[in-house]
Symmetry: C2
Amino acid sequence: MDDQPLVTYVDVTAEVPSLQDNTADIDRLRRALVLPPSCRERPLLVPYGRCAEVAAGFRDSGFRGTAVVNVLPHGVELVDFLPSRPQVLPGMALDLGTTHLEATLIDLLTGERLGHGHAENQQIRYGADILSRIHYATSSGPDGRNGLGELQEAVIRSITSLAADLAREAGLKTGDIRALSVSGNTTMVHLLLRLSPYHICREPYIPLINAPDPLFAEELGLGLAPRAPVVILPSIGSYFGGDLISGILASGLDQADRVSMLIDVGTNAEVVLGNREWLIACAGAAGPALEGGVAKMGMRAGPGAVEHVHIDTDTWELGYRTIDNAPPVGICGSGMIDLVAELYLARVIDLRGKFRRGGPSDPPGFHRFVEKHLTTMDGETCFVIAPAAESGTGELVVLSQVDLDAMMRSKAAMYAILTTLTGQVGVRFEDLERIYVAGAFGKHINPRQAIVLGMLPDLPLETYQGIGNSSLKGAELVLLQESARQRSLEIGQKITYIELNVNQDFMICFSGSRFIPHTDPSLFPSVPVFSGD
Amino acid sequence: MDDQPLVTYVDVTAEVPSLQDNTADIDRLRRALVLPPSCRERPLLVPYGRCAEVAAGFRDSGFRGTAVVNVLPHGVELVDFLPSRPQVLPGMALDLGTTHLEATLIDLLTGERLGHGHAENQQIRYGADILSRIHYATSSGPDGRNGLGELQEAVIRSITSLAADLAREAGLKTGDIRALSVSGNTTMVHLLLRLSPYHICREPYIPLINAPDPLFAEELGLGLAPRAPVVILPSIGSYFGGDLISGILASGLDQADRVSMLIDVGTNAEVVLGNREWLIACAGAAGPALEGGVAKMGMRAGPGAVEHVHIDTDTWELGYRTIDNAPPVGICGSGMIDLVAELYLARVIDLRGKFRRGGPSDPPGFHRFVEKHLTTMDGETCFVIAPAAESGTGELVVLSQVDLDAMMRSKAAMYAILTTLTGQVGVRFEDLERIYVAGAFGKHINPRQAIVLGMLPDLPLETYQGIGNSSLKGAELVLLQESARQRSLEIGQKITYIELNVNQDFMICFSGSRFIPHTDPSLFPSVPVFSGD
């Protein structure tokens, strides 16, 4: 079975018109078009807006050349006719994040990446997070016309400008981009489509739409080819967006025989469990500390973010590494996990996640180390990672007790989410074939350190697999494979979503997880437990 | 099998959202929508441009009400949601003529006519006939942008204004009209769609499109409901338009077991022959004289047009009737046929179609009659129908020898067309179950008189059936029945078109038909033949 990209080329050689064969141009082209086998059962449509161009292209090419064909579920659309087959068929895959856009330009003929880029979501000026955007969009009333329009225009500008950058770098024009796939959270999709997000954040949290039908670039005012299909990854609900469906696609969770798990940590921790038979998912507020958004010195992974920390308990030296080896300015999620795990293993924090200054049983090196690194700022105990002289800001780079407390809550929430979800279906952690960890978090995290903290289950390290920006990867798959487009809809149909906020098991689990590694250390046989204190 | 109109209402009662059932609004509506059986296999689509309105309507109605659904071949579209089912579902059927538009407003729920109206085609100012329109449309070059745009805007204005009239008279708003079907000749359809008609009138006479996919009112800038589907009756070729497909639909020619014939006389005579198994068609220039467009006093059927003439050869009195009993101003096609047949039967013209002043064998009454009615104007013999004192113009109403010659050519062409077409498939006139005669011509013509002239075959009068404006009737059927929409496409596929201009048989037939009734009078046993002269 051929697995068609969202847009494809079909070479055509038609009979030249004559008095004996005076079929109309468009009908002649339809007749001569030999579609790929998987498309032949579908209606062949010529959208009104493309008739004139298609017919002119066909005639000007002497009734032979290359048809540009949109492969949509309800039909195959003839949208352009070119005198010869171009070398590439560019499509854009977009991860539409609340703060950042990441996109690739993909050749739909080969799957090759023609370009890759980032941009800020220009909606930022209307609010940093989802809730403030929803507020802005709906500020002029429940139907929220004006704010909504501004937000749509802002994200359309962002996308068009990113598309222009990608095209230019690939030696193409923006209008050469013939397809777009978008993977984003439910609110970002609503704002892109100018659909009111009013009810998304209000009980019972109902989106306006989960699975939009394919639409077209010209309907959104994007600068791509006018009839470029825009495919939007479906959402499951207000707090479970197409970005996660993308992650499922990218991981292949929905196609495996054995059960695996997918963890995506963004503003929320979103977790999916399942296999080809069933899928279950939940989302919970485990993210902020892990994303670096809450801690005093917390930051997103970027230049100068401390991403790796090591404490040598022989020499009592602290080593760290920053992104791009820039002078340290803060600490990102993976650095935070590294640091807290190292502090625990060095016994600088206890199993409740509190800083300890040690006692007589601690070695002299420990005392020197604590003396050097623990300080008090604004009445709060802080751990100094880098002195002011070393830092990029001229100030200390520290982890405060408050930050540590937030981190403890996040790690507890994460483990409780994983435990609750697996518990719902009676799957044990040991039964998992793989745990896919998505996003920047998955790329940088050291699973061993997360296990030490009791954040991730104590499984062989090869169980864990970082899959990078799976939102973007899923969007790429959707551009390239009709099977992936079908899977995205099937996943949306098949998945069961659990609301953790109302879940009793979760709250019990969460309480038990607020120790390092856990109140029940037998769950973490590989992690040393320090008694006493 | 249910036979769906182009748009239908579907009553919906959906579950109210809750934390336990937090499906998105649009997805909830899709889930709750129980389509008519014939629509269930099709994809259910919600066009992007209608999402916000559909969702708002659904929510504001408390998740129950009436969905407005477009029934298209490639899918069923959810385009609106109303709190309750309106009493009517208005659609507009349009006969889009070169000079006139005729339309009805139809309730798609019942088939009832809600209104009926006429308007001028505002393209008239750019040229009276098809060729001058094509010239204007393409005057700025083969792609003809500017003229084409003006012509499109003119016809769109005409349609919108007629729609507004129909809606107002029915107590509705133009935006309440939820569907449009258009039946017109190939060129009118091209101009409506802003598609270049350049090649329509140039050998080998290739239209740009024969069978456009359904489009939407908003794409044309019509003032109807934005997503009102616009269905255009398909054409067969440059000279065989959707108006004739409409005629086939209206007559049911394509569904009968026995062979019948359809004759539509407009600018051309268009003739179709066939049954449920096969259809064959041709068009020829038989029309101008019959339409009254060529003769000196010729006119379209309208007030003051002489439509019926009788010569009493006992009293030698001439009687005539005009449309609306207005003072005579000219003579329409049916009046022309009546007049010429009566003149022949009164022996005022001979079998070659020439005026005769008679001889010794003619009775005295004949001589008085000829003395009174034959005159010479500008050196040409003319027959006076009404003296200047009686006429609406203050001038004589006459038929000149030149007019008579044109009429003879037209009647010969008509008979030759019918003979050639039946000859192609070996059907004898006697085998025909019915001869449907479409248009104003069909409405007013007296078949007996046309038989006397040798224009129509000498068959029992009940064979002939006038079917009025079958272009409009076909457009109505297409609004009301999916089966009619399918038939229109099947007819387009099935029909064989014969080009008469290049047909040898036709030319031979045409020569033999230039006598009254024919050079072979045995073909017209019921018509008296006057020997001598």
